[in-house]
């Protein structure tokens, strides 16, 4: 009987995700998810602390994310599996942490997808004029979420090829705008010295800079999403560090340019209020061509972000199913398209429901909160990784420098960000933490009994030091 079962199992054709992506796709996934943050979101930091606070945050949070990218590159080049940080947490910290990390990932990306759909609908509404009712507004949201889900359903290669093209166009639009406003000639179009003066640079002092951490996250939120492609890249040890670090460099340049353009064209009171800083910058140049270009680029950036988020959220959900942390039913792979099709479809109505009832600020905040919880885990994770498997004990595709400095910097900046979020969204922060505690209890006392404990650890590593 047991022989017959084993024989039947042997004849089952294995279907796995398709290993087809290169470093360019990794770049497109990471930068694609993040770039919308330059088009909207980061500028609310100016409302919290003034224009100079937004610049300080741009670079300080840049440091946080450089640490994230370096840490992530090292661990993911070693743990190359769909689910990214979930698979890392499972092998390095343990199942309960892994379950929480996967939830952070699904929430961060689904809420970011929702934010992008709302942003696109808001942008269209602003230009549509009279007669554009709530029905039409929701129609735009529906086609964004369902259309991109169908693209993801159809295959990862096409999904990330599309992301590469639209992300590149949206990024080039910022570069074109930068050179169009003659940055070498202050006073011609740009008026930084009039917009940012010693009196208004930090209107609320240094506490305003701390408060601005909340929205500064938006400059780079999601770059760590590159790791979700780990199981679908041809050479994870090379492509993931290369794509992630190249993406981070791209974003640091883009964020600095974005701040310079917007800070030189708008007073901080307006910059901190508008939903469309770059689109407004295009308008303020007086050129209809630039305005239309930035309108199209805003929509493309949001589409690229939503597209990448669907890809990442579905893979995190799929990984949970594969390890039976959720019903194994979710771990199905499409036999032709080789995508986690059930996970993709399952998350569509959830995203639609949030997009129809939530507002942009709430959706962004839930995404940021889940992201920061996730980064806090990463700082602990890398320290445990280096302690349990020191350099030389396992093969690493990339080894990040200055350890443990990036981990300490990351942890310290996460603590400051929690405080900043608490200042503005204390109730949401508390509610979210309570939610994760309840889910952890559910996992520990109920769900974990269904997990095949030996099967979940797949990396051929030696025993960790001290065990």
């Amino acid at each position: 009987m047991s022989n017959a079962t084993a024989s039947a199992a042997d004849t089952v054709k294995k279907i796995s995700l398709l290993r087809i992506l290169g470093p360019g796709h990794v770049w497109a996934l990471g930068v694609g998810i993040v770039l919308v943050g330059e088009y909207t979101g980061w500028n609310f930091a100016a409302d919290k602390g003034g224009t100079l606070a937004a610049l300080i945050i741009c670079w300080v949070i840049g440091l946080l994310y450089t640490s994230v990218a370096m840490i992530d590159s090292e661990v993911t080049s070693t743990v190359a599996a769909a689910g990214g940080q979930y698979a890392q947490a499972k092998h390095i910290v343990g199942p309960l942490m892994a379950f929480n990390v996967a939830l952070y990932l699904v929430f961060a990306y689904t809420m970011l997808e929702v934010s992008n759909a709302i942003l696109i609908a808001d942008t269209v509404k602003a230009y549509a004029g009279e007669g554009f009712t709530d029905w039409h507004y929701k129609g735009i949201i529906a086609i964004v979420i369902v259309g991109l889900a169908a693209l993801n359903y159809r295959g990862v290669l096409m999904t990330l090829n599309v992301n590469f093209v639209i992300t590149a166009i949206a990024y080039l639009a910022i570069i074109v705008l930068f050179f169009s406003v003659q940055p070498w000639s202050q006073g011609t179009i740009l008026k930084l010295n009039e917009m940012v003066t010693p009196e208004n640079a930090l209107p609320y002092g240094w506490i305003g800079v701390i408060a601005a951490f909340h929205w500064g996250i938006w400059f780079y939120l999601g770059i760590e999403g590159t790791t979700q492609a780990a199981e679908e890249v041809r050479s994870p040890a090379r492509s993931l560090p290369y794509g992630t670090m190249a993406g981070m460099i791209t974003l640091l340049i883009g964020a600095s340019i974005t701040w310079y353009i917007c800070a030189s064209l708008m007073p901080w009171q307006y910059l901190g209020f508008t939903y469309y800083p770059l689109l407004d910058a295009g308008k303020l140049t007086g050129s209809a061509l630039l305005e239309n270009m930035m309108f199209a680029a805003t929509i493309l950036a949001a589409l690229a972000s939503a597209n990448g988020c669907i890809n990442d959220a579905a893979r995190a959900w799929f990984s949970l199913g594969r390890d039976r942390y959720l019903p194994q039913w979710f771990s199905a792979v499409h036999p032709v398209y080789r995508t986690p099709y059930r996970s993709i479809i399952f998350l569509v109505p959830i995203a639609l429901a949030f997009a129809f009832i939530a507002n942009l600020g709430q959706a962004i905040t839930f995404s940021i909160l889940s992201g920061v919880l996730h980064y806090t885990f990463m700082s602990v994770n890398i320290m445990m990784f280096r302690n349990k498997w020191p350099l030389g004990t396992i093969q690493r595709g990339y080894t990040h420098p200055f350890h443990p400095l990036p981990a300490i910097v990351l942890l310290a900046l996460c603590v400051v960000t929690y405080f900043a979020i608490f200042l503005g969204y204390g109730a949401q922060l508390t509610a979210m933490v309570v939610f994760y505690v309840i889910m952890s209890l559910w996992f520990h006392f109920y769900r974990y009994r269904y997990v095949k404990r030996g099967d979940q650890f797949t990396m051929p590593w030696p025993k960790p030091r001290g065990y």
Partner: protein
């Protein structure tokens, strides 16, 4: 123009969602559950080696 695009958006979204549901049903009734859920972490296959388009 945007109103027309938004109306078309509803129709297209419904069509795409129905296509996904149809394809999901077709796949689930064609292949066994064991095959569909056979993916295992750590068992990754090189596209160039085995995939046939």
């Amino acid at each position: 123009m945007w109103i027309m695009i938004a109306n078309a958006g509803w129709i297209l979204a419904a069509a795409l969602f129905l296509w996904m549901l149809y394809d999901w049903f077709r796949v689930d009734t064609t292949y066994s559950e064991a095959t569909l859920t056979s993916s295992r972490e750590g068992e990754i296959e090189a596209y160039q080696e085995t995939h046939k388009v």
